[in-house]
């Protein structure tokens, strides 16, 4: 019998054949692989607030979006100060409309310095929201009901403030207003 005709000789490793051993190893490997997949299962949660909510402030001078802004204006006793456009507006830059809510978040003034403060958020179509706070001894700080900002709509903010007759020159009344947006 030639060398080529010889039947392949089974190799034994101990009592197990090489095939059996291979199968065992394969099974072990498979289990190992499965074990690794399970152990290394990772969940990366990115809870990042979007750069700007779908309804945010807009700076009119350069059309940039903003989530906050400050506005300072001088007022005088018994005189109404009115600014029809306080340099920032409200912009729903989404293709869908969103509910918005407004409230006075905090303040440091009183009824002596401020008789009333009115603000209105509006555009050519209508008024998104307006509020006249006349009780500065105990002003309302609750959120307004929902106000629907239309898709791709920009709104102007107007303010009117009347200082009290006995308002003291040099005082610095401060209000913090808050806008809440359903997003999406």
């Amino acid at each position: 019998m030639s060398e080529t005709q010889k039947k392949p000789k089974k190799k034994y490793l101990g009592k197990l054949t090489a095939t059996a051993l291979a199968l065992i190893l394969a099974s072990i490997l498979t289990c190992t692989v499965l074990a690794i997949a399970y152990v290394n299962l990772t969940w990366t949660t990115t809870a990042t607030v979007a750069a700007n909510p779908k309804v945010c402030f807009i700076k009119w001078s350069d059309s940039s979006k903003a989530n906050t802004f400050s506005y300072t204006v001088n007022i005088f006793p018994s005189v109404i100060t009115e600014d029809d456009n306080i340099t920032y507006g409200v912009w729903d830059w989404d293709t869908a409309g969103h509910n918005t809510y407004f409230k006075l978040l905090s303040y440091n003034t009183n009824a002596t310095d401020i008789s009333w403060a009115y603000y209105k958020i509006y555009n050519g179509t209508g008024i998104l929201y307006q509020k006249n706070e006349t009780n500065w001894a105990s002003p309302s700080t609750a959120f307004s009901t929902a106000n629907f900002a239309s898709a791709n709509a920009k709104y102007t903010i107007q303010i009117q403030i009347k200082a009290g007759a006995s308002a003291v020159a040099g005082h610095t009344p401060t209000f913090v207003w808050n806008m809440k947006v359903d997003n999406p």
Partner: protein, 422 residues
């Protein structure tokens, strides 16, 4: 009967003697006194000439006119006139001297304002007193009953030029040393007084006084303006304040060209214009009094100020300088009417009593319906407002799992490599 005759003759003689004495005394009286006494109650004849002053060559003495203004106080007759000339009695004190340059003038006594001066003449008088007449190039107006000082003045060549006088009432004489020059001083500076009635008189034409009614109106001629000061010059200035209907009325304007100008709160609002008086006249004077629109803003954001008081002053912000004021409307504008064409002060006030100054601006007003903005920057409170957004976040989830098929492929390849090795 004889007694009666004697008495009658004595009486008649006495009466005649008194008449002579009175006539002589009367002859010495100043001419204006004579006219008033001789024709009391007779209306003046317009267009005729008359005189006032002293028409007699005084015998009390003479004064040297060289570089001294000499004259006396006289009261104008009860009529209006246009002065034609002044005549005075002159001589020279010695044979020395020729060619004096001489002229005369009229001053109003109340304020020593120069009413008019004659043309000058060059004269060489003798040593005997004689009358010399000097004519007015433009006839100044004379008002009835007004006291004037008639004066003469000469230069100082060699010798002495003299004017005659009669000693009469103290302070009737006026004089002032002054080097002779082209024009008389106006007004006559603090003259010294004496009791001399100089031989000098004025010849004038009796004239009809006219009425000149001037009504001050603003630029758009809508409003009649009260308290304008109208100055009408009819030889001298006559000031009148306009009444509630804008009228300033003059009842005795002489028939000559007069000039008119108008001042309001110390600012000229109508330049001088000329009015020729040949009859009674009524004229509207259109003044540069403009309506302006003032907008008031604050300094931080140029926000509008509603309900602020804006007061216009002609100078500093004191009540006596106040022209007008108003309150800004819902657009922060206030319309102020009839402010003069000038640089004015616009002061802004707050509080219900408008006692708190919140701004002060100087602004030139130069045309009707001018609009401008003033900024209030005093005694303010500074409000600040912060605005925030609360946005509800989107939660992004990323699952990362190694590939099982990739691991199996790698195992098969390893087994195959081992087989090949064997």
């Amino acid at each position: 009967m004889k007694t009666f005759f004697k008495f009658t003759v004595t009486t008649i003689l006495t009466i005649l003697a008194l008449a002579v004495v009175l006539e002589l005394a009367f002859y010495k009286l100043p001419i204006q006194t004579r006219l008033e006494n001789v024709i009391p109650g007779i209306p003046p004849v317009f267009g005729a000439t008359n005189i006032f002053g002293y028409t007699t060559i005084g015998t009390s003495g003479a004064v040297a006119l060289d570089n001294v203004i000499y004259g006396s106080l006289f009261t104008m007759n009860a009529e209006y006139g246009l002065a034609n000339s002044i005549t005075c009695a002159l001589d020279k004190s010695s044979s020395t001297g020729t060619n004096w340059t001489v002229k005369c003038a009229i001053y109003r006594h109340s304020d020593l304002k120069l009413i008019g001066q004659t043309s000058e003449s060059i004269i060489t008088p003798t040593t005997s007193m004689a009358w010399y007449t000097f004519n007015f190039a433009t006839s100044p107006g004379l008002s009835n009953g007004v006291q004037y000082v008639l004066v003469a003045w000469a230069n100082n060549p060699t010798g002495t030029l003299q004017m005659a006088y009669l000693t009469r009432t103290s302070n009737q004489g006026h004089y002032r040393s002054s080097t002779y020059t082209t024009n008389f001083p106006d007004p006559l500076p603090s003259p010294t007084h004496n009791a001399y009635q100089y031989s000098i008189y004025c010849t004038y034409t009796i004239s009809t006084p006219y009425k000149l009614n001037l009504r001050a109106k603003d630029w758009d001629q809508t409003d009649n303006i009260q308290n304008c000061i109208v100055t009408m010059n009819n030889g001298s200035d006559f000031n009148r304040a306009t009444d509630a209907n804008g009228w300033a009325n003059y009842t005795a304007v002489l028939p000559s060209s007069v000039t008119v100008k108008v001042k309001y709160f110390g600012k000229w609002v109508n330049g001088t214009f000329t009015q020729t008086m040949g009859a009674d006249k009524t004229t509207t004077v259109r003044c540069k009094l403009y309506d302006v629109q003032v907008k008031v803003v604050e300094s931080a954001k140029s926000a509008k100020l509603i309900g602020a008081n804006v007061t216009c002053f002609n100078a500093t912000s004191v009540s006596t300088n106040k022209i007008t004021s108003g309150i800004t409307n819902s657009s922060a504008y206030v319309r102020l009417l009839n402010v003069p064409n000038a640089t004015l002060t616009f002061t802004q006030y707050a509080r219900s009593t408008f006692t708190l100054v919140i701004g002060n601006t100087t602004q030139a007003v130069s045309y009707d319906e001018q609009a401008f903005t003033v900024t209030s920057n005093q005694n303010s409170l500074s409000t600040s407002q912060d605005r925030y957004i609360i946005g509800y976040p989107i939660h992004g989830i990323v699952l990362s799992i190694p590939s099982l098929s990739h691991l199996l492929t790698r195992c098969k390849k390893k087994i195959k490599r081992r087989k090949n090795h064997e």
